[in-house]
């Protein structure tokens, strides 16, 4: 099971690159095929200057292939890439302008940390003193000045990761590419580094693309997320957009947890799930159409055993969407309880809801007990039923 999201992503208070900033990287009509297998299918994408973009998707979705095409490491079969106004579609990697960090870091094992960082600076006509100063500055930037004379094998994974990052940005590239940079690290180091990378990126203002399969990482770091599946882009949007307004069932399911129910759209902005109707946004659906209704476990609001007993957490906003349910199973996951409910109105289907520890204590929710829960109208999402 994927990481559960304990908290919804915070509203975007972080400084965003201006929406109007000109496009720095333009990918249009990109295809990549290996024989009969199509790895990328007509990808078009525009990235603004200074933006932090994550390519997110399950393994095999084409995100790394897209990154390598942008880097010139695996040439696309069709399509154009324009970076900073320059058509780089068929340029070899060495003539493009980017720094890259791989999952393996690919640090040169026989060179010291210093020499690793200096590798891209040497041989460019820069005076020695300038190179030394730049290396020192970068070492300071990643907080590893004390390790300068050590070899990569003597550093921890997180430290190696930062050296790889320092080496990549040493040449002040216009574009920073990160290929699953955190996935080889321990969970704690990962969380810590994710903040550091994000802070560094903001400080340098370098346009950055990161490939990841970890939705939490993408939500926490990206200005915009590109969700990919089977070689196509499913949705591009800010973390909140992606989470709150998934455009496809795949996105809804891939980011966060979902309950999914077959539903039928009825007259007057409602859907029928099981035997009963729920209010919801039905824009774009004709009455009588079949659909998949989705609600996230965290969005289900508990109201206690009896809504009118005065113990309710809050007043229901849509009383029509309140149902009586039975608690079948409860699983303690630290910050919340994952609860499985059955409701007569849902037929035999199980509804998964995540209740805060607080609510469970206050509302005395327990296995076998009865409970009323609300599926808020605006949190019930509809998607066309896949064939």
């Amino acid at each position: 099971m994927r990481h559960a999201l304990s908290v919804e992503p915070a509203p975007p208070t972080r400084p965003q690159p201006a929406e109007t900033a000109p496009a720095y990287l333009d990918v249009s009509g990109l295809w990549k095929s290996y024989g009969d297998f199509v790895a990328l299918r007509d990808i078009s994408l525009s990235i603004r200057k200074g933006e932090f973009v994550c390519f997110l998707g399950p393994s095999g979705c084409g995100k790394t292939t897209l990154l390598r095409a942008i880097a010139g490491l695996d040439l696309q079969s069709r399509g154009a890439i324009v970076q900073g106004g320059r058509d780089i579609s068929t340029l070899p990697a060495a003539r493009r302008d980017y720094g890259i960090v791989f999952q393996s870091y690919a640090l040169f094992p026989n060179l010291t940390i210093e020499q690793n960082i200096a590798f891209g600076l040497e041989n460019t006509g820069r005076p020695r003193a300038e190179i030394a100063a730049r290396v020192a500055e970068l070492l300071d930037l990643v907080g590893l000045a004390a390790q300068a004379k050590k070899y990569p094998a003597q550093l921890s994974g997180g430290q190696q990761q930062r050296i790889a990052l320092a080496r990549a940005i040493a040449i002040s590239p216009g574009l920073l590419l990160l290929d699953e940079p955190l996935s080889a690290l321990d969970a704690k180091v990962r969380v810590h580094l994710r903040h550091e990378i994000k802070a560094l990126q903001r400080k340098l203002g370098v346009t950055t693309i990161m490939v990841t399969h970890d939705q939490e990482e993408a939500l926490a770091m990206a200005d915009r997320i590109v969700v990919m599946n089977h070689g196509v882009i499913e949705q591009v949007g800010t973390p909140t957009e992606i989470y709150r307004h998934p455009k496809t069932l795949f996105v809804a399911d891939f980011i966060g947890e979902t309950n999914q129910f077959p539903a039928r759209v009825t007259e007057g902005g409602a859907v029928e799930i099981g035997h009963s109707a729920f209010l919801c946004q039905t824009d774009g659906f004709a009455a009588g159409a079949t659909a998949t209704a989705v609600v996230r476990p965290v969005d289900i609001i508990p109201h206690g055993a009896d809504l009118h007993a005065g113990m309710a957490a809050e007043k229901p906003t849509t009383p029509q969407n309140v149902i009586d349910a039975q608690v079948v199973e409860m699983e303690f996951l630290g910050m919340f309880w994952r609860t499985r409910l059955t409701a007569p109105r849902f037929g035999d289907r199980v509804l998964v809801a995540d209740f805060s520890v607080n609510a469970v204590r206050r509302l005395r929710i327990e296995i076998g007990g009865a409970i009323q829960v609300e599926i808020p109208q605006e949190r019930l999402l509809l998607f066309p039923r896949s064939a």
Binding site: G29, W31, S33, V38, R41, D42, S44, A71, G72, L73, L75, Q76, S77, R78, G79, S89, T90, L91, P92, A93, A94, R95, R96, Y98, G99, I100, F102, S104, A106, F108, P109, N110, L111, F119, G120, N123, T124, Y151, P152, A153, Q154, R167, A168, A170, I171, P173, L177, V232, I233, E234, Q235, K247, T248
Partner: protein, 668 residues
């Protein structure tokens, strides 16, 4: 979301602009690929076509006219075939000949008289028909006029055809055809014994707690350091007609199968031992613990855990030994007596009888088992999966006094066998006249007094070994780098890799003979290297290319595949990465390749025996020639010189490795 199209738009696929690096890399690969084609592909092809070449005097292609005593009044033209039909001067079987065949025209004119005024006219009408006037080659359908003095010196030359006649005549020669059976028999027996002994040794070293493991490991690889002729010489001294232990053979002669098998076991043992040792040392202790917890008997554990774990190693070792024995030439030459073996046949046909076509035929036959063994081995290797997962626990044997003592005793026995052979040669090299005058002398080292090349041969060998080590390591490593790290150009790379794997399947004798055919052709622009040190270096590098290539490839595969991508993103040319990172990191492997090539260049006989000239005689060939001439003690002495040199080289290698690695491999 954009609406995705269902299929890719038509049109030409994009092509990446080649960077300067790509061009340089491709250029390099083409150069090294050409090297392999010239040094391997082309000679083998020429040899194959040679084995299918037949030579026959085409009598219908020659026409004669004879004058009367005045030198005028020409007779009607008549073909040599007609004349022969009338005279029966040459039997039909004698018309089949080899590339050197010559047939005097006077045979067709029984009343030919030297210094008669009669003139003769001759023309060659057929395509490819030619004749020699003295040493002058003539062809063409214009009549040529010769007086009788000149006519006497005219010989016809055969025309070349393609066919399997050479093979037919090979198989109809019982002694030659029998060599196939002999070779396979010897190779099979030696393989069974060697693999069994090597397995027992490797088992003792990995599964017991016996003492002195490091020492045994060293001793068991000693045979690699001497030419395969040396065990032959040792066996002569031990079991020959004057041998110390001659009576042990109960009247059997060491010259023949017995000597070949013992000697073969001696010189192939290290190869089999090292392969099986590697296979056994990757044991996972958890398998043994699982077997023990299931109360499996020791024998059952051995059968179901140990042997299956090492089975690819065993198969691989068996093929290596089989190929080595069947293609070895030095040992049967020294100890084989009258027992015909394929590799010796090539030598006899070429050096003894100058019958190059037949030599080519034997070569092609010798290629078959070698290529077959190679092919099967490759297929087996592909099926092998990594036995040792990352989580495997290395197996640590528990002490068991009886078993440890048994292992120790066995290893001692084999060590005594190996060191005994070397010691015997050492003794032979130092004794005045075995077994009659046992006083010690250095006289046998006065090589300049013997045939074989003298001390010059020894210094030539050192030169060859050094040059081979130097150029070989360069070419091999650069080639392996191109195969492993160049991107794109996939077809070129796989062809290159195939070429690099081929030498493994080509016996040295075959390679040497192919070189004669290819380079000793005046039409070849590279003809000038024939008979020089260059051709010896080229031949030796090529002969031992595969193992060196695989060593380099293994080292390169351990490098992070993204190094090249990182360097490109940092806009650094690949040669900077190559010299600053790739070479330093792979230095241990490069040094191993160099010492491997050095040692083999010192000991090899098979390929170079066809290619040395009077200026480039070699120590290993001198061993052969002195032994051939009956100077066995000096031959042993020269063999020991090779041994000392290789031991010294190994020590220097160890020192360099330690010193250099301390400086460049601080990161390890």
């Amino acid at each position: 979301m954009t609406l995705a199209l269902d299929s890719m738009p038509l049109g030409k696929p994009l092509r990446q602009e080649a960077s300067r690096d790509d061009l340089v890399k491709r250029g390099f690969m083409v150069v090294i690929g050409l090297y392999l084609i010239v040094a391997l592909g082309a000679p083998l092809f020429v040899m194959l076509s040679k084995s299918l070449s037949t030579y026959r005097f085409d009598l219908t292609a020659f026409e004669f006219q004879v004058s009367d005593d005045t030198g005028g009044n020409w007779s009607a033209p008549v073909t040599a075939a007609d004349l022969n039909a009338r005279l029966n001067a040459v039997a039909d079987v004698d018309l089949t000949t080899n590339s050197d065949g010559r047939l005097a025209v006077t045979k067709f004119f029984p009343d030919f008289k030297f210094r008669s005024p009669v003139h003769y006219r001759l023309r060659a009408t057929g395509e490819g028909a030619s004749y020699l006037v003295g040493t002058q080659l003539q062809k063409g359908s214009d009549w040529q006029d010769y007086d009788s003095g000149t006519f006497r010196r005219i010989v016809l030359r055969p025309s070349r055809g393609l066919g399997l006649e050479n093979f037919k005549s090979y198989f109809s020669t019982p002694a030659l055809a029998r060599s196939i059976y002999n070779s396979i028999l010897m190779a099979s027996i030696s393989t069974v014994i060697t693999v069994a002994v090597a397995f027992a040794l490797a088992y003792a070293l990995t599964r017991s707690r016996m003492p002195l493991k490091g020492l045994f490991r060293g001793v068991l690889t000693v045979p690699i350091l001497v030419p395969s002729l040396l065990p032959g010489i040792a066996l002569v001294y031990l079991f020959g007609n004057q041998g110390i232990f001659q009576l042990w053979l109960l009247g059997h002669s060491i010259y023949g199968p017995i000597g070949i098998v013992i000697g073969s076991v001696f010189f192939t043992l290290p190869h089999a031992f090292l392969i099986i040792l590697t296979a056994l040392s990757v044991a996972d202790a958890r398998h043994y613990e699982a077997a023990a917890s299931l109360k499996s008997s020791a024998w059952r554990t051995f059968r179901t855990v140990t042997v299956p774990g090492a089975r690819y190693g065993l198969v691989s070792a068996a093929f290596v030994v089989f190929t080595l024995v069947i293609t070895d030439f030095g040992l049967p030459k020294v100890i084989g007596g009258q027992y015909g073996m394929l590799a010796v046949d090539i030598y006899k046909q070429v050096i003894g009888q100058q019958n190059f076509e037949m030599g080519a035929v034997v070569s092609v036959i010798l290629l078959v088992p070698a290529v077959l063994a190679f092919w099967v081995d490759r297929r087996m290797q592909k099926r092998q999966v990594a036995l040792l997962s990352a989580r495997a626990v290395p197996y640590a044997p528990k002490p068991n006094r009886r078993f440890d003592a048994l292992c120790f005793a066995f290893c001692c026995l084999v060590a005594v066998f190996i060191l005994g052979m070397i010691a015997m040669c050492q003794l032979a090299a130092l004794v005045k006249f075995w077994p009659y005058d046992m006083t010690l002398t250095t006289r046998n080292f006065a090589f300049d007094l013997m045939d074989g090349g003298g001390w010059a041969a020894y210094s030539n060998s050192i030169k060859l070994a050094l040059l081979t080590a130097l150029f070989g390591s360069l070419v091999v490593f650069a080639g392996a780098y191109m195969v492993e790290k160049a991107d794109g150009f996939r077809t070129g790379r796989s062809i290159f890799h195939f070429l690099a794997m081929m030498p493994m399947a080509v016996p040295g004798m075959v390679l040497g003979l192919a070189y004669i055919f290819f380079f000793n052709n005046p039409a070849n622009p590279l003809h000038s290297i024939y008979g020089t040190m260059t051709i010896l270096v080229v031949c030796t590098v090529t002969h031992f290319y595969t193992v060196a290539h695989l060593t380099a490839l293994t080292a390169l595969k351990q490098m992070d595949p993204e190094f090249e991508s990182v360097a490109a993103s940092l806009k650094q040319p690949f040669h900077r990465l190559f010299f600053r990172v790739t070479v330093p990191v792979c230095l241990p492997a490069i040094l191993n390749i160099a010492i491997y090539l050095f040692v083999n260049a010192m000991t090899t006989v098979s390929a170079v025996v066809f290619l040395y000239s009077t200026e480039t005689k070699l120590a290993s060939v001198a061993v052969l020639n002195m032994d051939d001439a009956g100077d066995i003690a000096p031959a042993a002495a020269m063999g020991m010189m090779i041994f000392y040199t290789n031991v010294a080289a190994k020590l220097i290698h160890a020192l360099i490795a330690r010193g250099l690695l301390a400086r460049t491999q601080a990161w390890r």
